[in-house]
Symmetry: C2
Subunit: 365 residues, 2 copies
């Protein structure tokens, strides 16, 4: 058999199938520590969003660095992390309690403190009807606020009414939260953080006008976190910053040295003007934001562009490599790429390779 062309990284993963998720443990640990230090300096509680990594091992490292609990997006993610020993979970989503989610949420409340989002009086009343009063000791309610991303959430001025409806139904309203997702724009990071602070301040006032105190004022996306206003927020929920991705790199939130997660892929085809790698949309996902230069980036060849993506083909321009070369692709959006895999291959500092499961892969209900 002929010799393999040079690979990035060389060595450790030579025998591994491609495409595969590769996690650089040293970069991961550095990212976790940096996010924790930054939140401490801001005087904010840190509750990282675990939808990004879906890993109990990574969650444990975040908690060991001082995170007060985890954020998750779904009841099934909460189930995975509760089973992994996490005792304080925020399901940052406007849950509608059907019979299935009711049964599962009641079971979660037996083992963990669970905070749940609501964004209407109807969903708050439904929650109260679903969870018997005797089972609510570990249940906190927070009202979701729309701070400019225009997804779920109520406008700040409406939050007092929703909180009052929840309180009247017998629920404990802990406060308010928002996701300033409009921070995913080149010049939008600081502006989104200002919108976030203004919306949360107005929501706190709206609850106060209804006679309700707020002990939780939760915000923060990875791009806006550095600009979060500690005079109104009490808590941050960054997700992507643990792993990094091409969107954050291209938004300028991080540099390539903070990218812990790549997809190791093989160049399988070569033409005069482009290469084809074996990682497509079933591995990287086709997520992209307006600022994206393509469907991901090559960590070792920043000048290269991924111009087209199909299910098992990435078309790469701007670099020429022999067929058989292995390259590290940085996914545009790490949260969706991780959700497509079962396993991380973890490169440790001493040159070893471990496997960590993507524990909450596919947990979307």
């Amino acid at each position: 058999m002929t010799t393999d062309p040079v690979s990035f990284p060389a060595g450790e993963l030579r025998g591994s199938p491609t495409p595969v998720l590769v996690l650089d443990e040293a970069v991961l640990d550095r990212n976790i520590a940096a996010v924790a230090a930054s939140a401490r300096e801001q005087g904010l509680a840190l509750r990282p969003h675990a939808k990004t990594h879906k890993s109990i091992e990574i969650a444990r490292r975040q908690l060991a660095e001082g995170a007060v609990g985890l954020t998750v997006a779904t009841v099934s993610e909460a189930e995975v992390f509760a089973a992994g020993g996490v005792r304080d979970l925020f399901i940052a989503y406007p849950l509608w309690l059907d019979s299935d989610r009711t049964r599962r949420l009641r079971r979660l409340l037996e083992t963990a403190r669970i905070r749940v989002g609501v964004d209407s009086a109807a969903s708050a009343r439904r929650l109260a009807a679903a969870i018997p009063e005797a089972e609510r000791a570990a249940l906190d309610i927070v009202v979701e606020i729309d701070s400019g991303h225009h997804r779920s959430g109520v406008f700040p001025a409406e939050s007092g009414a929703v909180a009052a409806a929840a309180t009247d139904a017998g629920l404990d309203v802990a406060g308010v939260f928002t996701f300033p997702g409009h921070s995913y724009a080149p010049e939008g990071r600081a502006a989104a953080a200002r919108d976030e602070a203004a919306a949360l301040r107005s929501a706190v006032d709206s609850l106060a006008a209804s006679g309700l105190a707020t002990r939780v004022v939760s915000g923060g996306s990875t791009p806006s976190a550095a600009f979060a206003d500690p005079s109104v927020l009490t808590e941050l929920r960054p997700g992507v910053s643990a792993l990094g991705d091409a969107q954050q790199w291209e938004l300028g939130t991080i540099g390539p040295e903070s990218i812990a997660l790549t997809v190791l892929a093989t160049i399988v085809s070569r033409r005069s003007d482009y290469l084809i790698a074996d990682a497509g949309s079933k591995v990287l996902s086709s997520d992209r934001v307006p600022v994206s230069t393509g469907f991901g980036r090559l960590l070792d060849f920043p000048e290269a562009r991924i111009t087209v993506l199909s299910e098992h083909h990435a078309t790469i321009t701007g670099v020429d490599l022999p067929v058989g070369t292995r390259v590290r692709i940085v996914p545009n959006h790490v949260c969706v790429a991780v959700n497509l895999a079962d396993t991380y291959r973890v490169l440790s500092g001493d040159g070893g390779v471990a496997s960590w499961p993507v524990d909450a892969r596919g947990c979307n209900t």
Copy 2:
């Protein structure tokens, strides 16, 4: 507890978590029969692409309707279907045989007839070096042709040289194949089929000029299949037509009555100008083609639009429904949506609900 708002479909799946893949068995069976009948009428062998459904049960139904074998995209998909009893598999991909893929391909050749794509003399020689001569009885090689999609594949005139290199290396070259993926454009279906026929005809000539006969001339995407030219093709490989999706609906390849696969989702939030459903990019994927009106369609509300998608939120405009309503969302691209799920919930004609595994979910190596 208050009553659930009306659901689409009503009844059978009331207790199911959402989001979940729902397969209408009657539509599936009708689609499988229609594709088989169409290929028979064209006088073409049918080798459906199983990357779409990743299901051994669906593959069995396709084979029972006369398919000669299956197409797959990866060695790991081939492993799943070989384990499920399929004995004739085409890995329609320009494989680069590293040590891992070599080991697995050799094992596959013990139990199934395996056809493999190549698109360079280098990959053909590597294949010959990797698979000992004594193990090649069940191995067929086909040269991939670029018929206008400009992904992997060689230009038709170069195919004879690649085939000759493979033959010289001791491999059995069965013929040529192409994927006319540029058929995914509104007026592109017939034109792509013409490009496909012309490229394959030219490739057959190129092999003949190298003294090689072709017994396999394989083409066909779902949009172009109806226009395939049986005077040059011997075989079709449609994938999506078994399940249907919003891309095919919006391209005009199928009507909504041919959509067998939907994602059952719950409306969790309601604003004056939009709704939020609980199926996002981690369930539907964010794939879209230029003709797409959004990130999927609502089967029961064709006037509605999915204007924004995030990981767990679909923003829906053009229809107003109460929070808690369950809706059927047609994914833009069914292949990537299926790959995000572990299970199909299958609605049978008699009102029952079965579960079928997505056997090859995540098999991307």
